[in-house]
Point group: C2
Chain length 209, copies 2
């Protein structure tokens, strides 16, 4: 290292190395099967050094979950500004697909640990998704065509949309597009799927009750 770094800066680098090592290892396995020694080894540090940065593996896991949702929130915020539901949906679908493909490891962490045996991570992830859905319900209420809907129906619609976005994301992690063409196709399919929901929502009162 030619550039001089303070002790604090070096410490941050090691901390980051541990987080990245964990993310790398989480490509192959779930959090529950991760070991502190593996993470330390992958980060190029002794197991003991780990304790200078985190109390235990769970604490490191919570930091990763926090980072994952940070990226998800950025993504959503970008699409919020639009006015017509269709535009919001089209832009959201595209951003969703792009974000998942760019941040594979983070999104896989969320998908996997949502039902994991590691209670702390599971609860953190579920709380974030619930927040996401309730924010979406609030947003939806602002659209003129939806403003007479009951809170309950808005909730069902928001859950349906969040559920669909999750399953789109999961589908992308499962079989990622192999090139720009397939990526465009994935975006188009995601848009179609979410638009079908919006079309359904629009016709809902007349035929659904």
């Amino acid at each position: 290292v030619t550039i001089e770094l303070t002790r604090t800066e070096r410490k941050q680098l090691t901390r980051r190395a541990l987080l990245d090592a964990a993310l790398r290892l989480l490509e192959d396995g779930s959090f529950a099967s991760l070991s502190l020694r593996q993470v330390a080894r992958e980060a190029g540090v002794t197991p003991t050094a780990f304790y200078r940065h985190f109390d235990d593996l769970e604490q490191l896991g919570l930091v990763l979950v926090g980072e994952s949702f940070g990226r998800l929130r950025e993504m959503i915020r970008a699409a919020r500004a639009e006015l017509a539901p269709e535009h919001v949906v089209r832009r959201s679908a595209e951003t969703l697909v792009r974000s998942v493909l760019e941040q594979r490891v983070h999104f896989r962490l969320l998908a996997r640990e949502r039902f994991s045996g590691v209670a702390v991570l599971r609860h953190a992830i579920r709380a974030e998704f619930r927040l996401f859905a309730s924010e979406l319900a609030t947003d939806l209420a602002r659209f003129p065509e939806l403003d007479h809907w009951s809170t309950e129906d808005l909730g069902v619609l928001a859950n349906l949309m969040v559920g669909s976005m999750i399953s789109i994301a999961e589908g992308l992690l499962e079989t990622p597009p192999s090139g720009p063409e397939e990526e465009r196709a994935a975006i188009a399919a995601a848009q179609k799927q979410l638009l079908m929901i919006i079309v359904g929502a629009r016709g809902w009162r007349s035929s659904g009750g």
Copy 2:
């Protein structure tokens, strides 16, 4: 034991005890964090006895996945007979909710291991879900209002529906209804959600493309 059993029958009982022990342990943790010794202990048998029934834990896991999908298929078959999409959807939603609540442990296994680090289970589960979606697409094509749809659009619709059913099931595992009233509410919400999709599908050609 007062009733006489053959050696073969006793062996089957032990095998079942091992499977049930694993299911019980899977309430608390994911498959990756399960150990052969834990399962044997829970089944009241020495670790060595395990090998008389399965080569390793993964093989036992595959048997459980098979059982889970068996129950899922039974459930679907029951709703297939209906003619109008709305009836199919209403009955499917109700059966889905009931089945998940009755077979919590099996459905949780599917939800959890769909993204687990245990490759063998993950692949088995994904193959079954793909099969499920493609069968649904075939079924959907039989409805008069959908018979002019393109294969691609039918695929999108089938994925949307399967995705929604999965996320409904996952929601039930997450926060199960605490009584008959809440159960009815859960069924109603599931029906609403799937009906919204059907309404959307019906309006799709006119406004979607």
